[in-house]
């Protein structure tokens, strides 16, 4: 019985310690007295992860190849077909180049985002999908990365930097239920909030603040941007609305969007170290395929 009492005392003591640590860390936020401990943890363990990633990556690639082998053959076929189609299109585009140059001149800065980006590789990922979505990048303070910077990849918005170590940094993905991104509907000024929907990173929840604004599947969302581009710069593509929830009588409307960036399989991403001097608006969105082109013409009711 003596042993049990001692065991209980130890349990009580450690539980209390854990609760105190949690409370202090939660209340104090960034100025927490635990920040040096966390910083040291990030520096040491992040370093270990970075060294290990060189060894682990070939193994991971091999496993991935095994798991994806059945789909790969089909994908090769598909890519070959797409390649042929693109070759044809390329030939046709040479003819349109002159027109395109004039158009580009007219559109001015809208051609591209003009972000200054530091490329990075994802080296570790935190589990519990739907509750906590975070990845570790192999760039850190030495590369100019600071907390509250935007992270994106070639397809769209990925997340924001929350903690930076000497050579690694932690990124919370936009599919994390606790993250909130200001979003703007393409071709208008309707704004809303994007949260993770807990669907393993495949869907995002978009809450449109104006319930009377038109909102249909196929609409695309770009980031609204915050003051001085912290933590999200403006104009980064976020996703495409997939379904709209009917919420009659409510002040906001809820829709679900598929993110442009594949958040379940991240490889190379970029950290925006310098926001664009002016909001690129919809300029970074991919060009729509022919049949849907009418929807971008500034008349969102055109389709309905």
């Amino acid at each position: 019985m003596k042993d049990t009492r001692r065991g209980r005392a130890i349990l009580g003591l450690l539980l209390a310690t854990a609760l105190v640590i949690m409370t202090v860390d939660h209340r104090a936020g960034d100025g927490s007295p635990l920040a040096p401990v966390k910083g040291a943890g990030t520096a040491v363990l992040g370093g270990v992860e970075q060294v290990g990633s060189g060894i682990v990556q070939p193994v991971g690639r091999f496993l991935q190849a095994l798991l994806e082998a059945p789909g790969a053959q089909r994908q090769i076929e598909q890519l070959r077909r797409e390649n042929d189609r693109l070759k044809q299109e390329l030939a046709a585009q040479a003819l349109d180049r002159r027109r395109s140059q004039e158009l580009q001149h007219m559109l001015g800065a809208a051609g591209a985002g003009r972000y200054k980006v530091v490329p990075a590789q994802v080296i570790a990922r935190r589990g519990a999908p739907g509750f906590e979505e975070a990845v570790e990048l192999d760039v850190g303070e030495a590369d100019g990365v600071r907390p509250e910077m935007t992270v994106l990849n070639g397809d769209g918005l990925v997340g924001r930097v929350v903690r930076v170590g000497p050579s690694t940094s932690t990124v919370v993905l936009i599919s994390d239920p606790a993250s909130a991104v200001g979003g703007r509907l393409e071709g208008g000024d309707e704004i809303g909030v994007v949260n993770g929907a807990g669907e393993y990173g495949r869907l995002l929840r978009f809450r449109l603040l104006d319930s009377t604004a038109p909102l249909t599947p196929g609409h695309r969302i770009v980031s609204f941007g915050s003051h001085r581009g912290v933590p999200y710069v403006a104009g980064v593509p976020i996703g495409v609305i997939e379904k709209v929830e009917a919420t009659p009588g409510e002040l906001t409307r809820i829709a679900y969007a598929r993110p442009f960036a594949d958040l379940t399989a991240l490889g190379v991403v970029g950290v925006v170290v310098e926001p664009p001097r002016r909001d690129p608006r919809d300029g970074v969105l991919p060009v729509l395929p022919e049949p849907a082109a009418g929807a971008t013409g500034g008349d969102p009711n055109g389709g309905t």
Binding site: D3, T4, R6, G7, I10, L11, L14, L15, T17, A18, V20, I21, M22, D25, H26, L34, V37, K38, A40, G41, L45, G46, E49, G52, S53, V56, V59, G60, L63, Q64, L67, E68, V122, I123, A124, R125, R126, G127, A128, P129, G130, F131, E132, E133, A134, V135, E136, R163, G165, T170, V171, P177, A178, A197, G198, E199, Y200, G201, T264, A265
Partner: protein
Amino acid sequence: MAGRDWMSLGLLLAVMVAQVMIVNRVPLPWQVAPDLALLGVVGYALVRGPEAGTVMGFTAGLASDLLPPVAHVMGQHALVLCLLGFVAGRVAEARPQAGPMVALACAAAGPPAMVAAGGLLGEVQIIPETLGDVLPTAVLCNMVAAPPMVWAVTRIVRGSPRTVSWARYAVRSQP
């Protein structure tokens, strides 16, 4: 702490690093991965009893709270693993035959406990979709991974059979 305990802690750390670097990034169906650190602590507590289990759970949990990438409050995993280590050790001590069942129960209790600990401070936004889809798959995944993982951990912690019989003899010979 004896040398064996430090070795166990080192192994557990290696398992955690392997978890964030390899296991979580393997594209498994449904995007879930078992929580190997939790299973390791449970296996350790089954062999070494509640006191050692509690201490190991707390230490391993704190390490897990520091291991990047983290997006939760520090101390959250320490709380959960410390509690599970105690429970696993306590029940296994009272009923030595129930080891496998205890391991399974603890593996199943892990994800809900993590979510509850996050909910204590309002860090985790609990939404119905996550409770409905993700939690059951996470629990199931943990339970599937529990038997082999816990078996391996108990084998390592116990050491070779010769060491065990020697240890038993040493314990019995004490007054």
